[in-house]
Symmetry: C2
Subunit: 185 residues, 2 copies
């Protein structure tokens, strides 16, 4: 890649990241290009579609969450590990408003640029869940996909301005249904 192209690409990623946290996932691509002092066509050649751009931005975060799961797999309490990881996942989504619907779409769409990252993330969660189940600390009738769906649903709650104030509390409610020891009442 030519040096100027690389510079433009990096600059675009930085600007896009900022725009995304400010305006949410539906931010206008023209706005991003404008803020980067670049033509729309330039943005669209580096990232042919909105999804490609989001993929480049989110892959890092996804992989961090996956790595975090791996860390926690060897931590003391299987129950605590699962809970902490779930909370980390949900908390992360607050960074990029609207990202949950993309995740939900990508997990089943093998053509999606985000697909691989999503599947890896789900597998990491499934391992944490299995460990907790083996220890009798999590209910046995759910699997990694269920867990992924619950995370997405809770993250979606946090995305809705009107429901966000309850998101933390409802996390505890849902967690109490998954992890035996989390029942707070």
């Amino acid at each position: 890649m030519r040096a100027d192209a690389r510079k433009n690409r990096d600059h675009l990623l930085a600007v896009a990241g900022a725009a995304l946290t400010e305006e949410g996932v539906d931010v206008s691509l023209r706005d991003i290009a404008r803020r980067a002092d670049v033509g729309l066509a330039t943005l669209l050649r580096h990232f042919p579609t909105r999804e490609a751009l989001l993929d480049a931005l989110l892959r890092t975060s996804f992989d961090e969450l996956t790595a975090r799961a791996a860390e926690l797999e060897t931590s003391g309490s299987p129950e605590e590990a699962l809970l902490v990881w779930l909370r980390d996942c949900v908390a992360w989504t607050t960074e990029y408003r609207g990202v949950t619907v993309l995740m939900a779409a990508a997990i089943e769409d093998t053509d999606s640029a985000l697909h691989a990252s999503c599947v890896t993330l789900r597998a990491a969660g499934a391992r944490l869940l299995a460990r907790a189940q083996a220890a009798g600390a999590a209910r046995g009738d759910i699997d990694g996909t269920d867990l992924f769906a619950l995370i997405a649903a809770l993250a979606w709650l946090g995305d809705q301005p009107s429901l966000a104030p309850r998101a933390d509390h409802l996390f505890d409610v849902v967690a109490s249904a998954v992890v035996s020891g989390a029942r707070t009442e």
Copy 2:
């Protein structure tokens, strides 16, 4: 209202309802107008915004759910009544794909055309919840708004094609956290 206007309005509502169930809540207004053999401007005068159109379409369903809650308030088991109503609410949303984000937005936006219907719906659910709580059949640390949020989140799950297959199962999981007797494991 003039007779031809009334006829057009009714026709538009019928066509819009069909289009909505087929294409979801993001259907193009121009498409609806085309399908109704009517100019876009005509559709937009009868229903000045997409939200107004949806309001006209959804208000009936909302009120039915509210009425259903009132029915169930006098039914035998407070626990069963709450569970049945929750399931009815979630099931209803499958009719109009994408309606949950509108509900979430309308519950806090007093300017929204759907606001009143949403608030009434939440109040109906709150009464069912309170009754179950008084009977010791539901956890005490949630209120009507929490319940509304949980319904919305579960409905959102059903809206996501990739997660929908798990929606029923996850309903049971979440319900088990709310209603004491629903724990199925």
